[in-house]
């Protein structure tokens, strides 16, 4: 049954996949190249001229360079929350995998609950207001950390369970304190799963729309997803600009995809199979 690659089936699959999966992206790109009049037609035609650059300039400069602010905000949000996630989740995964106590059951239950239960938004807003973090970028960072922890912990715990405990013990005998054991022995060995975590979580945080919508109202510190959402009504008639915007915010995930495809797939399946 495993003979030569099936050419016929392959061609059909490639055509169908192109139609289903590539045409929407082609549409985004084509529209981003068009001028306003042509874009309004919403059709799959070749652009009359090269308007991408002027579209980009207009999108970026509109509303007082809001797009630039948004990119900066999204970058800060992503970098900060993923950094915290990686360190905190690895610490929890480490102790959780290594130390068996009667609390482990409860902790694991809470982690699973975190994967399933949607956050209670209004009480969260109330709480954030109480501690002065509502509408603040660093408040949202902590929110993303809180919501991302269960997944990252599960990834880390599964990986740490495969690192022999004798390694810790050898380090302890060598004179390592708990801090050294974690930061000098375990954390460096976690690199593969850390890359996975970074990639998967940063795509998730960068693309997050719901949490910024709730917890980061106002234009001052909007993220790119919010900006796109706001432009949707403003650019109602300028589809070229709307799609230029979509194109711009698709670039970061595209880059991640090109460089880390393997890690994303590994992470998503690992986390999914465990969870």
């Amino acid at each position: 049954m495993k003979s030569r690659p099936s050419i016929f089936l392959g061609i059909i699959a490639i055509l169908v996949s192109a139609l289903v999966f590539l045409v929407p992206f082609a549409f985004i790109i084509l529209t981003a190249f068009k001028n306003k009049q042509q874009a309004t037609l919403l059709d799959f035609s070749w652009p009359d001229g090269f308007h991408l650059w002027s579209n980009i300039v207009e999108v970026v400069t509109t509303r007082n360079w809001m797009m630039v602010t948004a990119f900066i905000n999204s970058t800060i949000l992503t970098v900060a929350s993923v950094t915290l996630l990686v360190v905190f989740a690895a610490m929890v995964g480490f102790v959780l995998a290594r130390r068996k106590t009667r609390w482990n059951g409860l902790i694991e239950f809470l982690i699973l609950a975190g994967l399933m239960i949607p956050p209670a938004v209004v009480p969260t807003i109330w709480l954030l207001q109480g501690i002065g973090l509502f509408g603040k970028l660093h408040g949202l960072v902590l929110i993303e950390v809180a919501y991302g922890l269960p997944f990252s912990i599960i990834l880390y715990r599964a990986f740490i369970a495969t690192i022999p405990r004798e390694l810790d013990e050898a380090a302890i005998i060598d004179g390592a304190r708990p801090f050294d054991v974690f930061f000098r022995i375990i954390l460096p060995l976690l690199w593969p799963v850390t890359v996975t975590n970074i990639v998967v979580q940063s795509v998730g945080v960068f693309n997050d729309f719901t949490n910024p919508l709730y917890y980061l109202p106002g234009n001052a510190n909007a993220t790119v997803q919010l900006t796109l959402y706001n432009f949707q009504s403003q650019f109602n008639t300028s589809y070229n600009l709307l799609f230029t915007n979509i194109l711009l915010i698709t670039i970061p995930p595209l880059l991640v995809f090109l460089f880390f495809n393997r890690h994303i797939v590994a992470g998503m399946t690992a986390g999914a199979v465990k969870g």
């Binding site: 699959a13 490639i14 919403l42 902590l142 810790d168 729309f209 999914a272 199979v273």
Partner: protein, 303 residues
Amino acid sequence: MTVLSEAGSAPTHGGRRAIRRSPYPGWFFLPAALIYGVLFLAPTFASLYFSLTRWTLFNSTFIGLDNFAQFFREPFLVQGLVNTVLYAAITSGLKVVLGMLLALLLTSAIMGRGYLRSVVFFPVLVSTVGVGITFTVLMHPTQGMINETLALFGIKGPGWLVDPRLALFSVALVDVWKGVGLATVIYIAGIVAIPKDYYEAARIDGATRWQNFLYVTLPLSRPATATVIILSFIGGLRTFDLIWAMTRGGPGFASDTIASVIYKQYQAGFYGLSTAGNVVLFVLIGILVVPLTMFLNRKQGHE
């Protein structure tokens, strides 16, 4: 006897004072526990109380189960509830079937396999809002590319997002378009992990391709199936961003789900009602997902 003397002598040695620290310090939990506890667990517990109140964020009046009563009385809220379950069922069902088929195709010796895998998976990574906006345009009833293409073949395309009977399904289709890549990848991982021996044994027994699938691949990729179903079912129940980007729950309340209702009530300032929606969503997830998980895992155990 020895135990007694040991217990007596220990303090004089002064050893007990230096209780050795575990190499796995409990305080490693602290940062994560603090963030998770304050920003996730506390609001979740608080929601149980606030769902029973009329709430302005500054003060709350206890009104018992009124919010919940309203949830099950108002037709548009009830519809949101039904829509949510429907949406989750459709998307997870389609993702299982299509994901399985795609994975079978993409694990066979087919031309352009790497390209196909990438193309199917890429939408998973793209902004949901971006996808939503793009498909809103593509699904435009008159100018949209989909209906214009159908018109070329003389078919009058439906009003995907403007027809109240269709809006929810249209959004669900886009959800499947965006998410099927993940299901496929999970299935691929599951299928690749099936030991080759089984297929060889089946071949010696003279199994056809179809029998191979039915008696080897299907049962042995059951863990993947369980994962895909649970993951996409939970995802479906919680979906907000795609629906909000495409229809805002409309037309009317035709494509409202609990998550969009929560947002609408929040915007309208009905914080107690919004929070009650959250509690309804927890309960829904609890009563649907927990038995589902148990069912899928039980099946897994007996093979």
